[in-house]
Amino acid sequence: MLNHILSVFRTYMHGDGAVLLPEMQLFLFAIGTLAMDAWAANTSNEKHGSNPIFQQKYWNPAVALAGIAFSAFTLWMLRARILQSGDLAGFHLTLVVDSYFVFFSALLLVATALAILLSVNCAGISVVRQGRYYALLLFACMSMMLMVSAVDLLVIFLAVEAASISAYFLAATPGLSNRSPSAAVRFLFSSALGSALVAFAFSLLYGLSGATNISQVAGALARRHNVAKVITLSHQSGSQMLQLLLSRLPEAVHWHSFTLEALPIAAFTLVSVGMILKFAAPPFQPEFNRVNGETDFGIPSPVILYLAGAYAIAAVALLLRSLFTIFADSQNIWWYIIAALAIGGISYGVLASLRQTNLERIIVYLSIANMGYVLLGVVAANEGAATAMTYYLLTYLFMVTGVFGILIAVRGRNTCAGGLNDLSGLRQRSPVTALLLIIFVLSLAGAPPTAGFFGRYFIFRSLLETGHRYIAWFVALSSLLVAYSYLRVAVYAWRGDKSETESAAESFGIPEAIVLGVCVFVSLAAGLYSEPFTRMARYAFGQ
């Protein structure tokens, strides 16, 4: 009996199970974190005294990090396997493991690990019972990996919803100012509207193709274009032709040529707008500027980082996959829409960030602008652009994590820091912190020897190569504004402040030091010696 069960299990793990294994491990560790949290709440802390190893504060993140390590190891093994025997597919062709999945999953795992490390000493999070917080991070990471892995509309929809619901709960984690739920409500509404739009678009796609697998949908959409032409022709050339068409192609009776042409564009617009609403969701909260002027979002900084970093990357990755498979054949139609959305996003993000005086909000608004640059790579859609987009996302994650790491370190126990004025005098208080912040900010601004410069330069070059000259110049000119907006932060950090010279220097814990070390390494190395990083970026599209 046991043997039988074991053999069934073994067959499963060699077939469908292997496709889902990294996600399953994350799921199990998330459940484990929750269970251990409940157990720790029952057994009092007295038993272990003040031994720091037994403190919940440390072993909750440790378990979560262990889960990520296991998942990353499995991912590495899967990478070797697809190198040998090609892409894996499972669960009736609803999930695939290809190089695109491996690249983005690795990126999401790293993003989650960095967010966990930054959460350990974060003032807002150490108050709540943390087991569920770390479990939610793992659940969110798991669903985002599913988003990247899914190739079926049904599974994509489920994964998007699962990721969103984890994100809603994360956004409702009480922050420093104890005002979190109202921020969570704002986030929830824009994100829920995004998923509703995506769901509606999926229903249209299903209706146009009669299939839910995205490659079948793509094939059907390509055929539809011809069917629309035939229907138009048959309407023009009389009833005999129409009879012939109806006998050969019975479903033609349900469609009009106009709907066949218009519905795919509607579906495309809805998917793009929906996904953009999702990754641009956190800052679409204008009311927060009015509430107390200068205060923070009310969401803990690591969560904002996670929403503006990992969540945005997953949404962009899903958008790219659907653009390059479902809508692959009509690129000449939809690039106008994407270009308009991207240019709108860049302009909105930059102009809104110029008015802000809160560091978090500047970074989050500019993250919309950065995602806009990534989307402009879709407009070019050649080989160089694919590398540029993945390189941009890869380096952007580390740069933005670095800035948030500094912010969390500067904050320490001080609850209301985060305004630009709090940064002034940072050079005197802690030269290392100021230097690191300036490196990250220069890199985000796109100063030449750093990673940020090459990301934007690759996009610019691929746009020129494909003949989108005006958009390329828009990239160049708007980059100046973006640079100005970021450099404002650097100036504040460098500027002396005589009144506060005696205040204590910022101290890094070990987790923050690891995060900042990794981030500063990537921001500089990807610029100075970009070859390994561009090779990684090329790997994502299987080149």
Partner: protein, 104 residues
């Protein structure tokens, strides 16, 4: 059998009603209803297309949309409830325009 166009007209009408509701109304509960209306339009679409093609995936999708709608409603209502209780008791003055939104 009704032609497909009828179903599509209904679902598009619902979709735009929902979209206008989300974009123009200030009351959080009504905004939530509007999002649910969009999801219901999605369900109608899926059922209509499943009937057109005579296959299962559309029906499965419709049922899943309903399930997701329920979960999202639950999470959203919980968040709204937590927020409103906070506005009423703890810091009503910080959120003048937000608390005004909740009056019908």
């Amino acid at each position: 059998m009704l032609p497909l166009t009828h179903y599509l007209s209904l679902s598009f009408a619902l979709f735009f009603i929902g979209l206008m509701g989300v974009l123009t109304r200030r009351n959080l509960i009504i905004k939530l209803f509007s999002i649910e209306i969009i999801l219901n339009a999605t369900s109608i679409n899926f059922m209509a297309f499943a009937r057109l093609y005579g296959d299962a995936p559309g029906q499965v999708f419709a049922v899943l949309v309903v399930a997701m709608l329920a979960i999202e409603l639950l999470v959203a209502l919980a968040t709204i409830a937590a927020t409103c209780s906070r506005w009423k008791s703890a810091t009503p003055d910080d959120e003048p325009d937000l608390s005004a939104q909740l009056d019908y």
